[in-house]
């Protein structure tokens, strides 16, 4: 009787055995790289940022004094810095609100009515702007909105320039031309971030079961009642998810307000100028903490509203 012969076990075989016998080793091996990334690169840089914000710039030498102080945070509350924060917040809220209003009908149509080719065309139409460079789009808008640009030309040739003049003579948001006013900055922000609102919204609307709509109809609900009591609550998490994108992206952007608008600073621009031009990294870091805090509040509210229930 010959003993059973087994083929020699290779490295892979032995590793499989090891992992099968000690599943924890596999777990550690799999989780270490992403945890290192999250811990060192991501949280580490955040911690460095937080640390910097507790230092202060010596106003005489222009050097950073590495001693714990809250002076830098106090500087955030000077009038000019507060107005930067407020301006950014207002812009982010306005852009989010407008994106929601514009995106909803588009997402609703794409989710409920578009079929086949039309649906593909809708997806393509929403995604297409994301394929070209962000900078190209912004510079293109500078030309479109310029005083002697396409918008003015169209308005003049359709005799609707009184409308444009009226919009630009509005206090605060108006200006010399669309490209140098808050209206222009707002328009470009809406354009650039709109896809980030439409896509999650559409996904949420598609998940609303048609059976429920039919049930509502069977029970005698009007179209309006169905919309507000069935569709809207079920789609709300998607809307909030989209608003997180538009809100946080506007909060941090520093390119658009540099090219379009009246040169007034936003949080992102302030961070960019302070760390680069002034070498005032503590104040830049303190400014960078502001959107983090705002987003924490926003996300807490969003969680309460059930935006993450579907995750």
């Amino acid at each position: 009787m010959t003993p059973a012969s087994f083929p020699a076990r290779g490295l892979a075989d032995r590793l499989t055995t090891l992992f099968w016998r000690h599943p924890r080793i596999l777990l550690v091996l799999l989780l270490t790289p992403p945890l290192l990334w999250l811990g060192v690169v991501y949280l580490g840089s955040l911690a460095a940022l937080l640390l910097q914000s507790f230092y202060a710039l010596d106003s005489f030498s222009g050097l950073i004094v590495p001693e714990f102080t809250l002076k830098t945070y106090a500087q955030l509350f000077t009038q000019s810095n507060l107005s930067i924060i407020l301006r950014t917040l207002l812009m982010a809220s306005a852009v989010t609100a407008a994106s929601t209003i514009i995106a909803f009908p588009i997402a609703y149509y794409a989710a409920r009515y578009a079929k086949g080719r039309l649906k593909a065309a809708f997806y393509l139409g929403v995604m297409l702007p994301l394929w070209s460079s962000y900078l190209v789009k912004v510079y293109a808008f500078k030309l479109i909105l310029a005083k002697e640009g396409i918008v003015t030309w169209v308005a003049t040739s359709t005799h609707t320039d009184w409308l444009l003049t009226a919009a630009l003579s509005l206090p605060y948001v108006g200006g010399n031309s669309l490209a140098t006013s808050y209206l222009g900055t707002f328009t470009v922000f809406c354009y650039v971030w709109l896809p980030y609102m439409i896509l999650p919204m559409q996904a949420a609307l598609e998940r609303v079961p048609t059976t429920m709509l039919e049930a509502a109809a069977d029970l005698g609900a009007t179209a309006r009642q169905t919309f507000w009591t069935v569709t809207m609550p079920l789609a709300l998490p998607g809307i909030i998810a989209g608003s997180i994108f538009t809100f946080s992206l506007t909060l941090g952007d520093y390119i658009i307000p540099q090219i379009i608008g009246n040169s007034a600073s936003y949080i992102g621009m302030a961070v960019y100028q302070l760390q680069g031009t002034a070498g005032n990294i503590p104040l830049a870091a303190a400014f960078a903490v502001v959107p983090i805090l705002i987003m924490l509040v926003y996300l807490t509210l969003a969680r309460k509203a059930g935006a993450f229930d579907a995750l």
Partner: protein, 385 residues
């Protein structure tokens, strides 16, 4: 224990800071085959934009140093790039050069290793923006004034004063200047306001627009707050400014000869002038990084930058003035005496060159407002505060 650690880091930092000084170049050897330069757009031409303008290829064949140019759009970008390291040279403006020297990012130049140093414009040799304690930290590359660019359809005659961009009023065509003038987005523009006040409010006693005591500084800020109402956008990008002159109805602004030449090249009706108050100006300096990986090639490049042919072509291309005066007239390149004049060569005495403002100035230690303060306050002014 904490103190020990701090002392340790302190010593380490000291060691790191002093080592490059010991490694100062005393002789130029053979090239290392490569050279990395951070430069303003338009400063490094190898005939790709226009075959007539090429000052890199010749250098490469002569020395075997392959030039890699990286363009930077702002002084701050340059400082950031130099802080990251890996570059040999930077063409720094006066609002960056002192910061680079203070940050120990650039090394002292041994002028004895640059034979053409003697040909340099004498007025530039000891410029305060690259000379500290009598030590030279670079070689001048080009200079130019920040001119007042104006639309010739509106201004039949050149404006005599910067008041057209600073004070509320009507332009020669009878319409207001509000929304039709621009200002520079960089905080260094505060010096332009100070220069204007130097001529119009002599009782403030401003002698140097880069050394402002708190009351002088406050007056300059007030002037700029008034200007904010006239300016619809501040420019920082040359391309954006030329676009604004064409499409936004801007008719007067501080500018560089570069934009003027660009617009005139497109037959757009603009011209430039240096008004009676004088002007601020820039003077760019080629500086060698402390940890330059290719110091020999860098020194060879510095010598190359001072040759008359390069200076002549470059000044014509960039709209600047050569630092070697002979380049204007010796026909070594395309530049002519008239061209030099158009770029502002005769305005030297009216120009206050960009220098980083520091707290310790002639008025005393800590008597002046430092640059960091300029940045925050100018940001506030632009933001309407």
């Amino acid at each position: 224990m904490q103190t020990m650690k701090l002392m340790g880091t302190g010593l380490l930092a000291l060691a790191l800071a002093t080592t490059p000084l010991l490694a100062q170049v005393t002789a130029v050897g053979d090239g290392e085959g490569e050279l990395n330069i951070v430069a303003w757009p338009g400063y490094m031409e190898r005939g790709e934009s226009d075959p007539a303008y090429d000052w890199i290829t010749k250098f490469e064949t002569e020395t075997g140093c392959k030039v890699n140019a990286k363009t930077a759009g702002t002084s701050d970008e340059m400082v950031t790039l130099m802080n990251q390291g890996g570059f040999d040279l930077v063409t720094a403006s006066g609002d960056a050069s002192l910061r680079l020297i203070a940050g120990k990012k650039v090394q002292e130049i041994n002028t004895g290793l640059i034979p053409s140093w003697a040909k340099l414009d004498d007025r530039l040799k000891d410029g305060a923006w690259f000379t500290v304690d009598g030590k030279h930290y670079g070689v001048p590359y080009q200079w130019g004034p920040n001119v007042l660019m104006y639309n010739t359809d509106v201004f039949k005659e050149a404006p005599k004063s910067w008041s057209v961009v600073f004070e509320d009023g009507n332009l020669p065509d009878g319409k207001t200047n509000a929304g039709r003038v621009q200002a520079y987005a960089g905080p260094i523009y505060l010096a332009d306001a100070a220069l204007y006040l130097m001529a119009h409010k002599p009782d403030l006693g401003i002698t140097n627009p880069y050394e402002l005591t708190p009351p002088q500084y406050a007056a300059a800020l007030d002037l700029l707050r008034g200007q904010r109402k006239l300016v619809s956008r501040y420019w920082s990008d040359a391309a954006v400014q030329t676009d604004d002159f064409k499409n936004e109805g801007i008719v007067a602004s501080t500018s560089w000869p570069y934009q003027v030449n660009l617009l005139q090249g497109e037959k757009f009706p603009v011209a430039s002038t240096v008004p009676e108050e004088g002007a601020t100006g820039w003077s760019d300096t080629s500086m060698i990084a402390t940890d330059a990986p290719h110091p020999n090639c860098a020194y060879k490049w510095l010598e190359h930058t001072l040759n008359s042919n390069l200076q002549s072509d470059l000044s014509s291309w960039f709209g600047s003035v050569p630092v070697v005066p002979a380049a204007c007239s010796d026909k070594s390149g395309v530049q002519t005496a008239e061209g030099c004049k158009a770029n502002g060569s005769e305005t030297f005495d009216k120009i206050h060159f960009w220098t980083t403002p520091i707290a310790d100035c002639k008025a005393g230690a800590g008597a002046c407002v430092p640059y960091a303060q300029w940045v925050t306050d100018y940001m506030a002014v632009v933001g309407g505060n």
